[in-house]
Symmetry: C2
Subunit: 256 residues, 2 copies
């Protein structure tokens, strides 16, 4: 049986303020919880309904069976699942070292949680293990982002820094820094390196001046619209997908 | 001054039932409204606040200046803009003819409005002029989709049909039909044609059996994840972006 204070504590984690205060976040659904259990991220407590069976019980985790009604009360989903985990926010410090074939994403104030979730998921698909976010980027541990990553939140390291710290760290590195712009070199014709940093900008304003100053390669995804008054830009997650795919295609085909 | 019945009529258009009944939808924001005014889509009425100036007044459109307070009452946005248009849903019948360099998208029950909006926007970017949707696909004229297309809703023809009708029409065509699957030929190694149909499946279930039967080329976007338990799939809008980009890259570089 859930206490009123337990219900309140869990529901509070929908809000960023409480996630920061308690350093915890919520993950719902069997696949997502299993992915977290298999990762280095520390699951603190699992609430589940009768139909859910834990694969292997971990001694460091507290398990509590609850009724479907109780699950409905603590779930943030319109259709609650069988399992809800309370998870420790991993304290991720990224060392800013970029190895030979490593691609790292930098998100410069990406504000839409849906875009952030999609970018984390595609980073996982394209073998990108680190995402560096400015402090103005959406919170990766908000329920909407966590759920939309489809488990990728368990496998991609995400760290938040002040923009000036990121700029300072990257300015000293000997790796190419790519930025996506509306006007730049056509990505399809450009030589791409095997490793590097890819900066993705804010939905409305693009890449900020501070980050623009450290971009060594301005790239653009060409439009194929037949009209002059066509689409003005691509969604940031879509641009991220095309850029990451193009980098990996070149490496795989030895075409860098 | 807006009447109570006007306010009610406009607010009702947030719901699909009323959009179907009146064959109208809502578009908000200067850029979106301008894009619609420049298109063949028929704008029926424009509500605007004092700060907004219509570029050219069109005689067939009724214009009504309202107060900021009134705009707040009829707007579906958290931050209302200067202008809200009531627009006729275009009656789009697609002839299913596919010309020499034409790519057409078929959406097989894509259900998330965000994904649909993103796909319409990227289709516009990649010069794709027709999207054929199954009747189970999200409504392209819902406020969320309309706003997220960033004006592309004015330039891409969208038509809804029963799946059996689409299958029947496409089965007789001599154009290649591509479908995205988790297991298929690596898109980067595959020869791609200049024209064709690209089928994109439902977020959870992928391409349905009925559509699978008409797919002539099963393609897949390879994963570059270093772990076995990595990301299981890509978001449908992300997959659409990478596939459309790859088709256009080949044509542009004469590499089909």
């Amino acid at each position: 049986m859930l206490s009123i204070s337990q219900i309140k504590q869990i529901k509070n984690l929908q809000a960023k303020k409480y996630r920061k205060e308690h350093n915890l976040f919520i993950a719902e659904g069997n696949r997502l919880v299993q992915d977290l259990l298999q990762s280095s991220i520390q699951v603190s407590k699992i609430f589940y309904v009768e139909s859910w069976t834990p694969m292997i019980k971990n001694e460091n985790i507290s398990y509590q069976q609850i009724s479907k009604k109780e699950m409905e009360r603590i779930s943030g989903l319109s259709t609650p699942s069988e399992v809800l985990a309370v998870v420790k926010v991993p304290v991720k410090q990224i060392d800013f070292k970029i190895s030979e074939s490593e691609l790292v994403l930098v998100l410069d104030d990406v504000q839409d949680p849906g875009n952030l979730g999609t970018i984390i998921r595609l980073a996982d698909w394209f073998g990108i293990e680190k995402i560096i976010c400015t402090s103005g980027t959406a919170d990766a541990y908000s329920p909407k982002v966590v759920q939309s990553t489809m488990g990728s939140i368990a496998r991609v390291a995400i760290a938040y820094y002040n923009p000036s710290k990121i700029v300072e760290q990257l300015a000293n590195k000997m790796v190419p820094v790519y930025g996506t712009f509306l006007k730049g070199e056509n990505i399809f014709h450009k030589k791409l390196s095997q490793n590097g940093v890819i900066i993705l900008g804010n939905e409305g304003n693009g890449i900020s001046k501070a980050f623009e100053s450290i971009v060594s390669h301005r790239i653009t995804i060409p439009s194929f619209s037949k009209t002059d008054c066509g689409s003005e830009s691509l969604n940031v997650a879509v641009a991220a997908a095309i850029v990451c795919s193009e980098f990996r295609r070149r490496t795989a085909m030895d075409l860098t």
